[in-house]
Symmetry: C2
């Protein structure tokens, strides 16, 4: 394609966005921000999306079959699964104005995912054991009412997604397919150049299941997730679910006398540490939660935060929610900020994180407005709980409980997420199959997401330098950036045009910078920003040979045309 | 693909829908109705969509470049063009529930078309005469809040569309490209087998322009539009804009005396004809309209209806609207139902259709409650207007004014619609370009729609018989329906499997009905319903040869395997 004719040029002075992918993709003329979290794919960007989609399709076609569900669905389906009011990013579609409202006054769901559409549909077709297992997938636009869309293509209000749904006769059959899907994902990641940088980690099952879901996390400094990875046994977790042991931070001291301290207006670990002149590791953080069985008390060492989902599971309750001010007051008898583990009301349900186990002479709230205790000690001042829990948000330095060794901790960006939905949706839609004995059994399902536009963003986050993008060859919008210089020189122009036609005829994907009034410097800067794998320069200087440069290597070299064409057409496996 | 493994089977007992395309596509397992006007494309249906998209892409790529705009856009863009409140099918996206609303309380437009997105975007990139002309297109899902979606894929709330937008330095340049786009459309239609059945006709420019837009109308008994076509000069019109001369219906009579008739409670042409014992051709229909310049009076012969758009243009006003009851009363002095062209208030602006020209002894309202006149005659009782207009909704039998010959009138279904938008959107967004002299000039634009999912529906409306669909080969989801019978017989099964593999290896697209417990009759009925071009049967009966049948021919024949494979792989241009 001729660069002079392409719609959407580079704009190197475009503002810097909150992420490298947004900045480079917008400056490079790949995408345009239509509004926060919503992007237009310009011709260059659409080519990347298409290459990614093709790779995903090829791998998914090996394990599934493609279909296409709509963006709109009836409210009733989402009411059946009780998700209409609970999915916090749900958009609805409704009439925009009075006339539209008069025509048809109704609300529809703008789907963020398609369990509600596929489950009742599958039930209509596949209801015998002979029909199971099966799966279907689609590549389609999804909608999420994100509060603050950010990081370019990484978190959008509208984004392109591959979602696959599988249906099974048993949990065992589901688990088998789950591994098949996992392998298919890794094949995709291999083909786009991310296999070695991707970690398969456990994550929250969300609303769907108390089991873990699994994420494909690409190690990436700018990633929005933190991964806790045990290198020894190749097990990884998203921080949100990482089990963790706290390393002991302070030497154990001889117990001193517990002391009530007036701390009027001093609440929160940071202020208390300053006031008491202790480190956070000498404090505790005690928080009251409302739950479906009434208030409970959670306590971690002061340098940790509480992971509410871990607490929920440890307490064996349906939900936990930070207690309201009134609830705290009526439970502890004190204003918010003075809760502690000493002097709790009788029968209080206390859950203590194991990070507090070795504390000596520590601080805790007095459950009395304006007072804390210091020099508190287990056994002496308060009995050690019979069971200690893992209630904390894992942090760097924490140990993996299975090995007792520190996790490797790194930032990563999620490219896919797969869920064992089990029977959540089939129960809601009464989706049973007839087994070989003629009996009805519930169907098991899984769902498998892979963000196509997100993957494009992650690729830029991973593959770039300070000049621009460095696309892996398989997903680059074109393979060759042919830069024509001195094109006002008829001879040079003919040479460039001839080479362009030759490469196109040989099915090499070429972006030909045929602009006449643009400087060499600007053309090279554009080529670096756009980031195609190979740059070829034709100019008055390049006589019999052509100047050839790989985007990911610093130096150009002169190569004879025939050799170059052979390399690009992979005619003889030649290397350059 | 193995039919046993495909998701979405035939369901021959599915209900009959309001259109053949819905009934056959749903029964055939091509689509599923997720809700009124919103469909899921099952694997078989998606293959048709993909084939159509590929053909459209190939033809559009010759004249334009593909990109992809989002479904969501900010309200502000639609307020800039003053369409947020005026587009009567506009959907908005907004939070579906309280939590979503708390996250982000905002409304976005769910685009039914993309002029509002592409125009400001194009302005950012292409602002010099050197950048123009250019065009871009996309294939993407559109949303319309239809009151009553109907006719299956022909009118949906969500549908797949190819839309192209072109930008030009002048109206002349736009008109040139308009013809280029027209030819590209006809190439698409040729490739899908509709070229000879498609008529290029003038239609309303809608909000966009006072000029005509143009529609590609496929002649089709079940079509929702009526086309008026002048075969002599190959000019066609959608009924909504067809210029028309009324053929003279009644012999001219000697004038009788005008007579006031008491017609208490008798209003409307039908009742008046019965009461007065005359035919509608002896009556007139007089209607008062409110307009931006006050009330006007329109009159057609009683067997016609008034075309408000023709009236608006003839009267040279901005808008016309049926007068309110009060307006009629204050203008004519009579209740609604008694308006006529005699005794109109002085200075009344009267527009008479040419169909009334040769009337003699005709009826008209008396502009007096409960009275009409009969035996009214031009000149004698009322002056003949200096100018007669064409204000009528054209109907069968009407003459094309240019030739004076009757139109050929037929039903048709619109597959595409192209609009000379001129400067409507560029003015709204202040999109000017710098011409060669450094001056600012307004940009001209056109938009060019082609419904991909609609085209799929139209193909079924055109190509079917009482047994099912008869897909043209270019768009059929598979080329061959391989029916295996007696598959419990190992020898037959091996033969069928071997042939299936052989055809797949030869890149023939085969749907292989490998189901074992299904009768021959059912398999044949499924094959007819699904409608692939070629059916091959392998059974215990087919020995050395195979049974071969074209879907559009009544008889099967026995063909040797080698001959069949050669035909299907087009190895030697062989016919069968």
């Amino acid at each position: 394609m001729r660069y002079s004719k392409i719609f959407g040029k580079t704009n190197k002075s475009a503002k810097e966005y909150d992420s490298i992918n947004a900045t480079y993709l917008i400056r490079g003329g790949f995408i345009d921000q239509t509004m926060a979290g919503v992007y237009t794919y310009l011709p260059l960007g659409l080519r990347v999306i298409n290459k990614l989609s093709k790779i995903v399709r090829e791998e998914m076609d090996k394990i599934s079959v493609e279909m296409l569900m709509p963006a709109l669905s009836p409210k009733s389906l989402w009411e059946t699964t009780e998700r209409y009011n609970s999915v916090d990013v749900l958009f609805k579609a409704s009439p925009a104005n009075e006339t539209s409202n008069t025509r048809n006054n109704a609300d529809y769901v703008l789907n963020p995912t398609h369990e509600e559409v596929i489950t009742p549909l599958a039930k209509n077709f596949n209801y015998s054991y002979k029909d199971l297992p099966f799966s279907v997938y689609q590549i389609q636009s999804k909608f999420r009412n994100e509060a603050r869309p950010k990081s370019g293509l990484l978190r959008g209000r509208e984004f392109i997604m591959k979602d696959l749904y599988s249906f099974h006769k048993s949990e065992k059959e589901l688990k088998e397919f789950y591994l098949v899907a996992k392998e298919a994902y890794f094949k995709v990641l291999e083909r786009v150049g991310l296999r070695n940088e991707t970690y398969y980690v456990a994550a929250s099952g969300g609303d769907f299941t108390d089991e873990f879901s699994h994420e494909f996390q690409v190690k990436c400094e700018t990633g929005e997730d933190t991964i806790f990875y045990s290198t020894d046994d190749e097990v990884g977790y998203n921080r949100e679910v990482a089990p963790a042991l706290a390393p002991e931070k302070e030497e154990r001291e001889k117990p001193r006398e517990m002391e009530e301290v007036l701390t009027e207006g001093v609440t929160g670990v940071k202020d208390l540490c300053e006031f008491l002149k202790v480190t956070p590791e000498k404090t505790t953080k005690t928080i009251i939660y409302d739950t479906d069985i009434g208030p409970i008390v959670a306590c971690v060492r002061g340098d940790y935060e509480i992971n509410e989902e871990k607490l929920r599971k440890s307490a064996g309750v349906k939900w936990v929610k930070l207690a309201t001010e009134e609830s705290v007051k009526s439970f502890t008898g004190a204003e918010v900020g003075y809760a502690g583990i000493v002097n709790l009301p009788e029968g209080a349900k206390l859950f203590v994180d194991e990070s507090a186990k070795y504390l000596t002479n520590f601080e805790t709230g007095a459950n009395k407005t304006n007072y804390h205790y210091k020099n508190v000690n287990w056994y002496k001042d308060i009995p050690m709980p019979e069971v200690l829990y893992d209630l904390k948000v894992a942090k760097e330095g924490d140990l993996y409980p299975e090995t007792g060794k520190p996790y490797s901790v790194f930032k990563a960006s999620e490219v896919g997420n797969i869920f064992p939905l089990n029977t959540k949706f089939t129960k809601a839609f009464n989706y049973y199959f007839t087994n070989e004995k003629g009996q009805q059994e519930i169907v098991y399902t899984g769902s498998y997401g892979l963000g196509i536009s997100r993957l494009m963003g992650i690729l830029v986050e991973k593959f770039h330098d300070d000049k621009g993008i460095v696309w892996p060859e398989n997903v680059a919008p074109f393979t060759v950036h042919l830069v024509g210089l001195n094109l006002e020189n008829a001879e040079v122009k003919t040479k460039a045009e001839t080479l362009y036609q030759k490469l196109v005829s040989a099915n090499v994907e070429v972006l030909y910078d045929d602009r006449e009034s643009v400087s060499a410097g600007e053309k090279f800067a554009d080529a670096d920003l756009i980031g195609l794998p190979y740059r070829i320069v034709v100019s008055a200087k390049t006589k019999d040979a052509l100047e050839f440069k790989k985007r990911n290597e610093p130096k150009e070299k002169m190569v004879a045309e025939a050799e170059l064409v052979a390399f690009l057409t992979k005619a003889n496996g030649q290397k350059l």
